[in-house]
Symmetry: C2
């Protein structure tokens, strides 16, 4: 067993932990379960991850990084900035909705893990808004979109569409009108991106 422990990598622990979390759920999964799955002592796991919380956070970040890579790839599509934005937001909505409706337990388990550390939701939102920033900046460069602050506007697009990606709205995603509501919000947002000035520039209250 000491031979196995010597070649134990952080990556192998993360893979085993993800599997243990899937099997037992976040409420029941323990470091001992992870060690058992790997055939090592729990001390070997703690040499790589000082606490159970650190191990779980590492698993969640690793899983989110896969999601981020997937949504980075969608940006590389052909089309106008408006088309790419719509495809990107639709892909996000579809992924979340499918996960919630088809694998509700797994969806719920990931929500529990994401909320365990305050830094994780922030890490995820910063990354996703960063992708939106790039789509919007490309649209400004081709004069398709107008905005005087790409970062602020990207956050506004994220916030304005949160009914279709924020997990607290998951129960609404089975609603028969939800796709029509998504289309209407995205149309409004895209129209806004074509004509967005700061409140002071347009004389709004």
């Amino acid at each position: 067993m000491s031979e196995v422990a010597e070649v134990l990598t952080g990556e192998a622990i993360l893979v085993a932990t993800e599997e243990v979390l899937r099997r037992y759920g976040p409420a029941k999964a323990t470091v001992v379960d992870v060690a058992k799955a790997l055939g090592v002592s729990h001390g070997s796991v703690y040499r790589h991850f000082p606490t159970k919380a650190a191990l779980r956070e590492a698993v969640t970040r690793r899983w989110l990084d896969v999601v981020h890579a997937e949504f980075e790839a969608i940006v590389e599509q052909e089309g106008t900035a408006a088309e790419r934005l719509r495809v990107w937001l639709q892909a996000l909505f579809d992924k979340k909705r499918r996960s919630h409706l088809e694998e509700p337990e797994l969806f719920e388990n990931f929500q529990v893990l994401v909320k365990e550390s305050a830094s994780i939701p922030e890490y995820h939102v910063r990354h996703m808004v960063g992708i939106l920033t790039r789509i919007i900046r490309a649209g400004v460069e081709t004069q398709e979109f107008v905005t005087d602050d790409v970062d602020v506007t990207a956050q506004a697009v994220w916030d304005a569409t949160d009914k279709f990606h924020h997990p607290s709205h998951a129960r609404e995603w089975g609603n028969p009108h939800i796709q029509a509501e998504f289309d209407a919000v995205v149309s409004l947002v895209v129209a806004g991106l074509r004509y967005n000035r700061s409140p002071s520039a347009t004389g709004d209250a």
Copy 2:
């Protein structure tokens, strides 16, 4: 006591029930508490409201009607449609945020009551979106706004701003950047209202 019961009105029962709900909370309040507060038998209460659920739903609707009247009144302000929309959305956000931050227990209790019947959230949203429809229609009439479907667009404005009024986002309302995020979303929405065409009309995907 039978003399009191004879003059007992539905309105008096609703006032007493609201007071009982405030004092004991929705989890503990009973019809017997309401009857005691009025000095009548619980049978007298049931003659007006056939079930505890019916009584609670009537109290919640009565309370929401007061809120609706308040937000009807805000529509009658001076200004452009964009200014009136901004003032209205800000008033809604301020009311919800203040309620959540300053009276968290009362806020929580109202959420419990609102969610008890599926028809209540729908009743509230339909009313609030109806007010938005009137603001947007006025803007279309003065050619300040452009949209080919006022009802769909009003629902989209409601959905796009839900981070700032949907109770599931209440925990975010104490965030120091929340007012800036609200301003950015409302600016984007107002810009969208000035240039909103259906996807087919603009050639969006």
